[in-house]
């Protein structure tokens, strides 16, 4: 980073300084600097690096630290947050049930969204104009419709189509017949609404990842006679994952919180449950804090997962994987232990 330069001023302060000390790169010794020897062959191994100072960073760090402290202080001391109420409800059975419902919705809508999104992305890249325009049209429609409208539309499908029947047209044969309103539970409407909406976005982001993979990879795979399916799933997608993952986790985290919009269908996920409770108890802010804290917990867990999954897919893309925070912490501990009485820094 810095190639240290022993300046003439430094050397002149020491008694046996020689003006011969010129410009040289250091070799990374940590000893205190000694006066350079008077003998003509200068010992370069004695040079040491003085790390560059960043006074601006220190000022900024202090400022940010103060700000954080003030905010935390207000959080803890302001009685209107009603931390007691938060603690009372945080693990309440109804809240946990709502939380599980939120997780279930996220997983199902995420699976529909990314599964269908992958199919749409591959369709969009198809050589067949028909297939690729079907995919384009899907994304166009589902990205243009507000999520709220989609949810209500699915939930009210029974108004548009009273019965859903599966059979052979123009005959009496039916395999399946049901009233739409019986089929379309809030849960199904929510999964369809969230999932299809997600699929339209996932398709674009997966397509972007696929396009980021070098054309030569496909060419090499084709030249080796590797079938199209394996070319996509084994050669291109694993490499596209690096570009896809950061945005994909963004989307999933958005989806976790996006499930809260399902309250319009009166489905008892976390946010609807919270609303029910504060509607009864009038403790609005503490209850919203409970919901927020749970969303923070889920997002944090996802972020940790993201870190390790990204790391997995960066195999081969970086020369050496950087150590994980856990490995770093362990290394730091190991360094601390053997030298309990270290020299002053």
């Amino acid at each position: 980073m810095t190639s240290s330069v022993v300046s003439p001023e430094t050397t002149q302060r020491t008694p046996t300084a020689t003006p011969a000390a010129g410009h040289a790169t250091a070799t990374g010794h940590h000893e205190m600097s000694c006066p350079p020897p008077a003998a003509p062959p200068e010992d370069l191994s004695r040079l040491r690096v003085v790390p560059a100072r960043h006074p601006g960073r220190v000022v900024l760090a202090v400022g940010v630290g103060l700000l954080v402290a003030v905010v935390l202080y207000s959080f803890v001391t302001n009685p209107r947050w009603e931390w007691g109420v938060v603690a009372q409800w945080f693990f309440a059975e109804s809240i946990i049930r709502g939380l599980l419902e939120t997780l279930k919705l996220t997983v199902m809508a995420g699976a529909v969204g990314f599964g269908l999104g992958l199919a749409l992305a591959l369709m969009r890249l198809s050589k067949s104009g028909l297939i690729s325009s079907v995919s384009w049209t899907f994304s166009w429609i589902f990205r243009s419709t507000p999520l709220l409208v989609q949810l209500l539309l699915w939930y009210n499908l029974g108004y548009l189509y009273e019965r859903i029947t599966l059979g052979i047209p123009l005959t009496e044969i039916t395999f399946f017949d049901a009233r739409t309103s019986d089929l379309m539970t809030p849960m199904l409407a929510a999964v369809l609404g969230l999932g299809l909406h997600q699929a339209a976005y996932a398709a674009e982001l997966i397509r972007g990842g696929i396009l980021s993979v070098d054309q030569g990879q496909l060419e090499a795979a084709s030249a080796l006679g590797i079938p199209a399916r394996d070319r996509s799933l084994r050669i291109v997608l694993p490499q596209a994952m690096r570009a896809i993952l950061p945005t994909a986790f963004n989307e999933i985290i958005g989806l976790v919180k996006g499930t809260s919009i399902v309250y319009v269908l009166a489905h008892a996920e976390l946010f609807f449950t919270i609303q029910l409770i504060y509607g009864r108890t009038q403790q609005v802010l503490p209850m919203l804090l409970v919901a927020t804290l749970w969303y923070v917990v889920i997002t944090s867990a996802l972020s940790v997962g993201q870190y390790y999954i990204e790391r997995h897919y960066s195999k081969g893309a970086v020369r050496t994987l950087p150590p994980t925070p856990l490995q770093k912490a362990r290394a730091r501990l190991a360094r601390l232990r053997p030298t309990p009485t270290g020299a002053p820094a």
Binding site: A220, A221, A223, L224, G225, I226, P227, D230, P238, G316
Partner: protein, 332 residues
């Protein structure tokens, strides 16, 4: 699509089945190729004998890489026919009609035509063994364990026995290209195509890759090499083909084309390529070494490039047997 007039009906079998050559016979007849308005190949006729080594030279833009890519149908031709051992590539011929083959069929044909790219194109997310084992597993259905055992054998052949589980990005360019050669060999191709295999390499890494290619001339596979390495061409080629502006200007043994070029354009090109030290090194070589057998000693101009230490560790000693897997007869 129209056929080149006056082509004789192709033979369906190897003319010498008894010689059991592992190399394929490549016949290129009346091939034209256009990209939009730009005609890159303007009528190429070339016969490449089984097991022979052909080096294609020519200035950039002369169509040599495109020609190479038409042989395994990475570029479909605009007109003409290409066949390997009598099998038309990319099409099924019925009299005057050429039916486009389904991708599955083209992929099957490609398994007998290996290709090595200028930019390696190794699968970055797979280890060296993974790269080499992938095509046998996916294209031929070889079980994983067997494919990986073969991959290790091939990597050893190209001198990378210590790099089995290393990712491409952790390898030098020369090592990457050697993995790519092992990967192409893994399907036991009848024909191996090299598209400027050393052009993306640092000068001191070129020799280790050329050494591997030189060692392959013993395997009996038909080699078609696009390169700018004139001295290498002189050393290994049976036939040197000089192309310019989409046409073959002249072809023949290296001693003729490289040392006594009949065409002004060939002469001018060779003059341009052999500049400075290279020209000084190569000029006092009026006689060419015997082309078929790879010379065990490096050619006269080799000391210019001190060979990489690992290059000497390759299985390049002509007495080292090649893996049986490479030399036994093709089943599929």
């Amino acid at each position: 699509m129209s056929l080149h007039p006056g082509t004789a009906p192709h033979t369906d079998t190897d003319p010498h089945p008894d010689t059991a050559s592992l190399g394929g016979l490549v016949e290129i007849r009346g091939v034209h190729k256009s990209f939009g308005d730009l005609e890159v190949l303007r009528g190429i006729d070339l016969r490449i004998d089984p097991g022979s080594v052909t080096v294609i030279l020519g200035p950039s833009g002369s169509g040599k890489s495109t020609l190479l890519r038409t042989i395994n149908h990475l570029e479909p031709v605009s007109q003409g026919l290409i066949s390997v051992d009598g099998e038309v590539i990319g099409y099924r011929r019925e009299g005057e009609l050429l039916h486009e083959l389904h991708e599955k069929e083209v992929l099957r044909q490609r398994t007998s035509i290996g290709m090595v790219f200028q930019s390696f194109n190794l699968f970055a997310h797979m280890t060296a063994v993974g790269n080499v084992a992938e095509a046998p597993r996916r294209a031929l259905g070889v079980p994983r364990r067997e494919a990986e055992a073969r991959a290790r054998e091939l990597l050893t052949l190209v001198g990378l026995s210590d790099k089995f589980d290393v990712y491409p990005r952790q390898l030098s360019g020369g090592q990457q290209q050697r993995v790519a050669i092992a990967r192409a060999l893994a399907l036991r191709p009848k024909v191996l195509l090299f598209d400027e295999p050393t052009s993306a390499l640092d000068p001191e890494l070129v020799e280790e890759v050329l050494a591997v290619i030189r060692s392959l001339t013993r395997a009996g596979t038909t080699l078609v090499i696009v390169t700018h390495e004139i001295s290498f061409a002189r050393d290994v080629a049976d036939t040197v083909v000089f192309m310019d502006q989409g046409r073959i200007v002249e072809q023949g043994p290296p001693a003729e084309v490289l040392d006594r070029p009949r065409h002004e354009r060939t002469r001018a090109f060779l003059q341009r390529v052999r500049t400075g030290a290279e020209a000084a090194d190569e000029d006092p070589a009026p006689t060419s070494p015997p082309p078929v057998e790879p010379s065990p000693a490096p050619p006269a101009d080799a000391p210019r490039r001190p060979s990489h230490p690992s290059a000497t560790a390759l299985a390049l000693d002509p007495t080292t047997p090649l893996p049986r897997y490479l030399t036994e007869d093709h089943q599929s």
